[in-house]
Symmetry: C2
Subunit: 613 residues, 2 copies
Amino acid sequence: MGDAVSVTFEPDGRTMAVAPGETFLRAAQRAGIDVVATCGGRGRCHSCRIKVIKGSVPPPTIMDTVQLGHDEVREGFRLSCQTSVAVDCTVMVMPPIAESGHQILSCTHDFREASMSLDSGVAKRFVKAELPSGEHHQTSDVEAILAALGDGAAAEVPLDLLRRIPTLLRDADGALTVTTFHRRIIDVESGDTTAHKYGIAFDIGTTSIVGFLLDLDTGEQLAGVGSMNPQAVYGGDLMSRIAFAQFNPSALKKLQARVLAAINGFVQEACEKAKVEATHVYKVVIVGNTCMHHIFLGIDPSYVGLAPYAPSVRAPVVVPAKELLIRVHPNAPVCFLPIVAGFVGADTMAVVLATRIYDSPQIRVAVDIGTNGEVVMGSREKLMACSAPAGPALEGAQIKHGMRGALGAIEKVEIGEDVVYGVIGNVPPIGVCGSGLIDAVAKMLDAMVLEPSGLLRLEERELLPPALRDRLIERDGERQFVLAWATEAGNGQDITISQQDIRQLQLAKGAICSGILMLKKVMNVSDEQITELMLAGGFGNYINIESAVRIRLLPELPVERIRYVGNAAALGAQMALLSETERARAVDLARRIDHVSLAARPENAALLVSGDI
Amino acid sequence: MGDAVSVTFEPDGRTMAVAPGETFLRAAQRAGIDVVATCGGRGRCHSCRIKVIKGSVPPPTIMDTVQLGHDEVREGFRLSCQTSVAVDCTVMVMPPIAESGHQILSCTHDFREASMSLDSGVAKRFVKAELPSGEHHQTSDVEAILAALGDGAAAEVPLDLLRRIPTLLRDADGALTVTTFHRRIIDVESGDTTAHKYGIAFDIGTTSIVGFLLDLDTGEQLAGVGSMNPQAVYGGDLMSRIAFAQFNPSALKKLQARVLAAINGFVQEACEKAKVEATHVYKVVIVGNTCMHHIFLGIDPSYVGLAPYAPSVRAPVVVPAKELLIRVHPNAPVCFLPIVAGFVGADTMAVVLATRIYDSPQIRVAVDIGTNGEVVMGSREKLMACSAPAGPALEGAQIKHGMRGALGAIEKVEIGEDVVYGVIGNVPPIGVCGSGLIDAVAKMLDAMVLEPSGLLRLEERELLPPALRDRLIERDGERQFVLAWATEAGNGQDITISQQDIRQLQLAKGAICSGILMLKKVMNVSDEQITELMLAGGFGNYINIESAVRIRLLPELPVERIRYVGNAAALGAQMALLSETERARAVDLARRIDHVSLAARPENAALLVSGDI
């Protein structure tokens, strides 16, 4: 306790010495301060949240972000059970919000009230099987186990289990845990392991991959993992990825091997984080666009890249993990959500599940922002979808100083007499993420650094305030605008936005904007009829909405009708992981959503937005 | 034609010159002699049979034996389509017997009238799928194929096919052959391959393995293959085989690898013989005793060898060929018939199917003679079964000069003043097969060469006729009786029956006899009530029934009530291959047969027959 720091808990005002590394929750509990921890301090709810009001705010964990949403995280809210004390500080203990036990899935306001049944399809039962004996000679090991289960488990047992059952049954003297997926036995273990029943959900995007390990019994989120998609070395956007693999089986194998290695790395990482055995992961749900879906399954995506862009399979694919070489339980079902069309894939179905747009009495729009974005519009009456291929710019890729929305990314920009920026984690900046780019370009427009056409006004720089004037430069033969000088940066170099970056952003926003316009036209919907526009995507939460509207990425709706819904694709994948009802719903919905194809409706080409900002 | 030989066809009496190697059928057809060849000369029926009445009779092919039965083969009957002309001879063209197209399965009188539906579950359909186009953009390759099929094929397609469909569909411009097993798609090929739909059935015995390649559309038997079970190097009988593998995973793997290699060799051999592609083999049926069944599946058979001798699984196992590494179509279902009890296995179920004993109004008995034989007794009212572990002696194994019932085996023995023997194929003898051993021992008893206890009467040899006296010798410290002198033998050595061989036979017949007695007692059945005793087993056809009764291998029933039914296990396997109705019947029957265990009924131990012959 030599290094103990001082923590003050408001509103009580009690101050105590805390050893660095102890969580705020434990410290508060030791001090006798009443902090509600509904989930037992495991990061699965947000009843224990605190707000840091004095002293530096620790960087958020993924659980903070998932449970509290980006807004609260930005405002200094943290889960006290997940946050360790590091330096002297003062925190406010917040009154708990009423919530269900499965709050984990509801990382934004919309989902907070959503209820969902926990019916993952995976069941574990501890049984005492009666070993075959002289009196029961006309039986078998499998029958002894089925009899102990006593319900309608299917008599067909996978071969790997048949091979292990004779020894397992006798070593444990019949005391076994049997795992089933629906009626089918997928695992038999010695002793009682019913407490360990996990699943993992992945959203495989063109640019990034995220995964969440969940407890299938409680819905608790045990670990989150993610990184860039390692296939990106073979092309940043989908078409270049398809071109690489096109009619080239060995290239396809390379892409498949890369994503498989990443997924297996994530499985291992998540299991280590959560201290669970990978063999206790009994269900996997994977969502992703059609191309990612096909490549992961080893299906040639060539024809997805050629008119009429037909997928090879749209129906929900379910394959045992062993067949795909995913290192969870070999018999775990790996469930891919269904596909609507070539460029409206399983990820869109996950967004539809998560936003519950299918249940809406009035018109809503879900915009999944990503390298291969999609727009879904409609209500419980009818749903239509189209693709909105924004390219990787909004995910910070193929941008001069671009980066993911991670520690050190400029995510917020204000421009007055000079530039003021906000950095994720309040550390010196090392790059700019998609939301920072949008914010910067919007503010640069306002500050007359940019022409409406998107050109950096190098020729008229003398009209700008002196600090801005200095930032508008020509370097390496390209116009650039310096957001952060090398002296402030964490990596010792100027962080700039280049003319090329702005062109990339224009393409991205043009794609999304065109998608929304096309669906509005086809469905005959006016802006007034759109009661809500939901921004989904890994970084949707981080966008400054005014800036997005300013650069016409989004239509000019009243700001209160535009909402962040977080990574809805990943959320939908988790819903399908926890609930077979939800997974079945996706299958049903995929059949009912109409795909609007620009290719099939050339009359809509006119809707393509020009390059202007 | 320089080497042409002369063949006379009766009753026409026409003689013609024939080039050696030409079949009798072709020669007859050239001569304008009317020989009916219902199956087109492919060995699938017996309409073209001839009888060789002068000149040497060519050795029978497996098709001769299957189509004509051993009796007719022995009498010189052959299929003219399968038999090549070799030397000058006279043959009688026989009037065809009325028969169905699927006569192949009915190799004995009993089955000749049996009708069976050809419902293998495997269907091939040639379709013209409409490629996804601009007008049909919201579809997929798989849906295009399902739409062309137009019926209720399941939407789930195996992963390997999903991976091949995009290219296949377009290369063939939609002209595809789709193979299903029940509703599930198991193959998709370019072009029309509907003519090629095969299956293979195996009977894996402790001592020998036989297999038959069938056309699933016609029931035609295209090739027969067989050999000793290569596991035999690890122990001749089941218990020594189990002891080798017991609690020793690497030994189990060795046994499994040996039988798998044999099966794959047979698949290749059968396909080459029949000139069909192994990838066109879409269904495999395997029968065998519980130990062979478990070992083939890689299931530890240890507990099958320990009281209460419980199988690990009794239910019918169905596994895709790729999972078992059987080199037929990777998605072909490999179907194992169900098991009744530890020593009443899938082979017994095949015997039950083939003999239709379940349908009998009166009591019948099926005796499957083999290293691990079984006895089934009953009628449509009730069926009971027990094991009759005869050991390998009856299959010619572990006998000094023992061999399978193949070319060169002494199969028939008469003893008067001297020994007269019959050899399979009428060639110089090289050994003695099981039926020869039974016949020899029975005749040795009659000739007073043997005491009733089974002892060779070396001490009283002077009482025998001189020729027999010379044959009764002591050599290598063992009493032996010479059946064939080295000068007559094909391998240049005396072919003898040793005292030890006789002891082995006594054990074998004791096991079978005890099984029959026990079931008679348990079911309260008298010899008079047994309307038929069916002798099954690879060599059942070859046994001299009087001799078998003489040595009390079989009960003293009137000879006309004892019948050969051939390799009923292999026949039942083929029935389950051709007909899902039959396979389902086996599943139903396996649940209804009562197993009588000697171990569980110690009061029956007294029934064990003493060593006396």
